[in-house]
Every structure is written in structure tokens, then in C-alpha cells.
């Protein structure tokens, strides 16, 4: 209550209208209603300045990178490598060559699976995931486990959506060589105790991949402070273009790993019978990269930093608290994931209506949420539901958006009695 009625809310200091003005799509109408976009967890909308950064490159500084000895190629390479430096600085990595550009968060996980785990784990070794992982941090492990005879273990999730630390302590003992867990759950909003997870894993001799696809959008991330070995992020969830993601990896690990895909730019020499490989980061970036998307991504990250990651976190925390309070008042509505410090992601079910019906009805109210298993079927199984509805917030959402959400949910109750 206090949060909802306080006279000084973060909205007063956080200029959300200026932010909204950067996002053209927020002025769209859907079914005759102004759009309330609460599906940032699936993909964030794009600020004009990201589109501009991409177009500016295509108009003034485009060519393939690293290859030409002409001016356009130099300009393009400078912008592309500047983007790498922007990501480095955003994550506070030690070196920009620890930043590997990939397609998306999924590919970042696959790279660790098919380069690191495939090479360094031995038959019988275990990979430890958790019950709240996104499929992109589950399926690659199944695939490499099948190929190499590895075991995939999972840390259970507690009833309030927490990471079961006691179970983790026990499971770590069971031959675990790699821990691959989410930093923030895309369903529960739970922020896992990453530092503790990493410290314990290292003590047990295991490396750690954090799936940060849902974290960096809600809070500052510092890979060196975390001391994490690998960190996956995805551009389209960070207000950047689609088609670009990043795997951060510690230099000595990336150096030791074999390449992932073969092709141009990642080689040192090629003869008809043998290839040798280039140093980082080129070794992992075969072929022409997503040049302009990397540049757009860099612009998105700088934009977030200009607003302030702490400010974004505080602002979204207020929205989350407000939305939680209002939704909790709806009869028959159950929220999944109630851990303190959780991110602005609210999954819920209504006792009388299936989530799919909820999302259809909300959509006709102009409110875009997502319904389904959210690519987290094991977590659905854990909570015994086939699907949930999920409202996920971005820095451009407002309390007015929450009110529209709640109004529409009340209409669902009206229809389903």
C-alpha cells in the first residue's frame, strides 16, 4: 500500500515520458486501443536511436568488416569493434576480446555446450542446471550429454520460486563440472543468488555459465564482480535489434576452447587439408557477423546506461510492487514466484480461465501479455500447470499500464464468472 500511494514515486524522478517518446511502437493502436506492451520478457521494443544507429551505418559507414583495405571497411570495422567495447563496458568485462557476438542468448548457451562442455567434460561428468531454466539452457545440455555420455542434474525450485540452495550444495558434490543456471527466471522473476552459486561451484571445481538473458534488462551486471566464467545475453531483450547476442567468457577459457563454427575470419591458415584458428574473438565469429545489429545493440546499451541501470531497476521495482498489489486483489488470481528482490516479471493464473483465454481477452483490451509455457516446461511441471499468463515490464511501462492490465483481467473474471 505504502508504495502505491506514496506521494513521491520513482515516476517523479524517472522521466518515463521521455523514454516512451523514444519508442515509436508505443503509439500504436491495437484493436482500437492504445497498446500496452507487457511482453518485454519475450522481446523488448526498440528505441528510435537504435534504428537510427543501424540506418546511419548502412548510409554512411557500411562494408564488410576486418577484410578490406578501403575507407568504408575501416569505418565499418571501427563501429563494429566500438560496439564490442560498448558491451565490454556494459558488462564490465576485462577485455573486449572476451565479448563474442552470436545470434541470440540461445546460441550463447549452445556455444558453451558444443565448444566448452564437449571438449572439457568427460563421460559421467555432470552438468547442473535448475528447474527454472529456459529451454535454451536445457536443450543444449541434453544434446551434448547424449553425445558425450554426460549427466544433466537439476536444482529444484522452492514453492516461492527460489533456488534451492541446500539441494545445490548436495548436488554439486555429484561430479558436477559445469553449472548452467539462470541469473533471472523469465517466468518467476526470481533473481538467483549468483555470487554464492559461483563461489560454491568454483570451490567444487566447476565452471559456471549464467544465463543473463532476463537480467541485464532489469539491473546492472558486472561479470568481474560476479567472477562468472560465461555469461549469456541477447540483444533483442535489451532494447537492441533482433539477430544479435553475446557470450562473455573468461579469456583463458575461451582461449582453451576449440572453435564452434568454421569459416571466414576465424582462421589463421587454411590449406585443402588443414585449418588453424585465429585468436579471440575472431575464433568464435565465423563468417560475416551481424555487423549493423552489433552496432545497434551497442547504441541500445549506451541508451540504457544514459538512463542508469540502477534507476531502471528502482523504477521497475515500483511498477512490480504496484502491479503485484493490484493483481493480488483479483479473486482467484495466483502469482508464481514471490521471492524478495525479484524482477518485474509477473506470472499468474486465474482459477476459472485458462491462460490462453486470458491473453486473448487482454489482447482485445490492447494489453499484450504472453500465455503459455514460456519455454520453461520443466518449471510448468514443477508447479503443476500447463501454462501461465505473464506480464513482463520494461523501462517504458507505467502505472497506467498496470491499471489497464488489471482492468482487462477483471473483464476476464466477468466473462468466466
Amino acid at each position: 500500500m505504502a508504495t502505491a500511494t506514496a506521494s513521491h514515486t520513482p515516476e517523479d524522478v524517472f522521466d518515463v515520458e521521455a523514454i516512451r517518446a523514444q519508442f515509436p511502437i508505443l503509439s500504436e493502436e491495437v484493436h482500437g486501443k492504445s497498446l500496452v506492451y507487457l511482453d518485454t520478457g519475450a522481446s523488448a521494443q526498440k528505441p528510435q536511436l537504435v534504428m537510427d544507429a543501424v540506418d546511419d551505418m548502412y548510409k554512411h559507414a557500411y562494408s564488410n568488416v576486418h577484410r578490406g583495405a578501403h575507407r568504408m571497411s575501416e569505418l565499418a570495422t571501427d563501429r563494429f569493434e566500438h560496439a564490442r567495447e560498448q558491451v565490454r563496458s556494459f558488462l564490465n568485462a576485462a577485455h573486449s576480446h572476451e565479448i563474442i557476438f552470436v545470434r541470440n542468448g540461445t546460441e550463447a548457451c549452445n556455444l558453451v555446450a558444443f565448444s566448452y562442455a564437449k571438449k572439457f567434460l568427460q563421460e559421467g561428468d555432470a552438468i547442473l542446471i535448475s528447474e527454472m531454466e529456459h529451454h535454451s539452457n536445457i536443450v543444449p545440455w541434453h544434446m551434448v550429454a547424449e553425445e558425450k555420455g554426460l549427466r544433466v542434474l537439476a536444482v529444484p525450485v522452492t514453492d516461492d520460486g527460489g533456488f534451492d540452495m541446500d539441494a545445490y550444495d548436495r548436488l554439486l558434490e555429484d561430479g558436477v563440472k559445469l553449472v548452467a543456471v539462470t541469473h533471472t527466471s523469465n517466468v518467476l522473476g526470481t533473481v538467483t543468488p549468483a555470487k554464492e552459486i559461483i563461489r560454491k561451484a568454483h570451490a567444487a571445481g566447476a565452471k559456471v555459465l549464467l544465463d543473463g538473458c532476463q537480467s541485464a534488462v532489469h539491473m546492472p551486471v558486472d561479470v568481474r564482480d560476479l567472477d562468472v566464467d560465461f555469461y549469456a545475453i541477447t540483444g533483442h531483450k535489451l532494447y537492441g535489434p533482433s539477430g544479435i547476442g553475446v557470450l562473455y567468457g573468461k579469456e583463458e577459457l575461451l582461449n582453451a576452447m576449440p572453435p564452434y563454427q568454421g569459416g571466414g575470419s576465424m582462421i589463421k591458415t587454411v590449406t585443402l587439408t588443414k585449418s588453424t584458428y585465429a585468436p579471440l574473438p575472431a575464433k568464435f565469429e565465423a563468417g560475416t557477423p551481424a555487423i549493423a545489429q552489433a552496432v545497434g545493440f551497442g547504441a541500445a546499451l549506451d541508451y540504457m546506461r544514459s538512463i542508469g541501470l540502477d534507476a531502471i531497476r528502482d523504477y521497475e521495482e515500483d511498477l512490480r510492487a504496484y502491479a503485484t498489489q493490484k493483481l493480488s486483489a483479483v479473486p482467484g488470481l495466483k502469482i508464481y514466484g514471490t521471492m524478495p528482490g525479484k524482477a518485474a516479471v509477473i506470472s499468474f493464473t486465474l482459477d476459472k480461465a485458462h491462460s490462453h483465454d486470458v491473453s486473448t481477452i487482454l489482447d482485445r483490451h490492447g494489453v499484450a501479455i504472453r500465455a503459455g509455457h514460456h519455454c520453461a516446461q520443466p518449471l510448468m511441471d514443477r508447479f503443476g500447470v500447463a501454462a501461465t499468463a505473464r506480464a513482463s515490464f520494461g523501462m517504458y511501462n507505467t502505472r497506467a499500464d498496470v491499471d489497464r492490465l488489471v482492468e482487462a483481467v477483471e473483464f476476464v473474471s466477468e466473462i468466466f464468472g
Binding site: 485458462h354 481477452i361 482485445r364 503459455g372 509455457h373 500447463a386 501454462a387
Partner: protein
Amino acid sequence: MLDELRELYQEVILDHGKNPRNFRAMDNATHKAAGRNPLCGDQLVVYLAVDEDGKVADASFLGKGCAISMASASMMTEMVHGKTPEDAERLFENFHTLCTTDHTPDAPEGLEDEVEKLEVLSGVRQFPSRVKCATLSWHTMDAAIKGEEEISTE
């Protein structure tokens, strides 16, 4: 716009959705198939018992899903009862047209009543992403008749 919602979620659909008929497994099924909509996670199993006369003596289903898919499955099991598999397929075709085009197709001979009843689901036309929910059970029945074990509507 909200009128369209009211048309989609009519009383009869909400009723079938809440209290699905023939919602049970069947031991003596002659045909059985599982259907899944991987997008939303809906899944159901359709059972048919075709008797010596070549008529559906019993039809039932089990599964989880939204109001639309539950109601559609429930109505389907009621409707194919006593029909030949061929008639059931004809109804499916008719229903498919109803859901995916702008016009209500002419009813096949002898199936006028059924087609009329199905019209209650025609509101789904305004909701392209929900058409699969409405047709999942029918696709699954079709698979069962054709002897397939599993279908996926994506």
C-alpha cells in the same frame, strides 16, 4: 471489439469448457490419437470406439486446454456419436471452413443439425491465433481415424 469477445465466449462454450462432456479415457477404443499445440502447451487425447456397423459407438477425450479447445473437443465427442467415420470427417472439413474462412459452408446432407450447432464456434474467425485451439480436437480425431498416433498443429 469487446463484442467479438462476447461472441467468442458464448454461454454454451463456457459451459462446455467448464463441464466438458465425455471427458474420460476409454479402454475399448478402436481408434486413439494424441494431439498437441506446441505453442500454448495444449494437449489432448481423443478416443473413438467404432462398432461393427461402422458407426462411432463411443467418443471421448482427455487433456488440458483453454476454454475454446475444451469446448470444441466436448462438442465434437457429442456430435460424432452415432456417425460413420466418413461423416465425422465431413463434419471436420465443414468445421475447418467455418473457422478459417468468412463464410458458413453448406452443410453436407444429413448433417444440417450438427453444422448449425457448430456455428457457435464461428466467433473464432475473428481470432486467427485461436483457430488452432478450436480445431485441435478435430485434427486429433482425424489422425485417430487415419491410424496416426500423434499430431502436432504447428
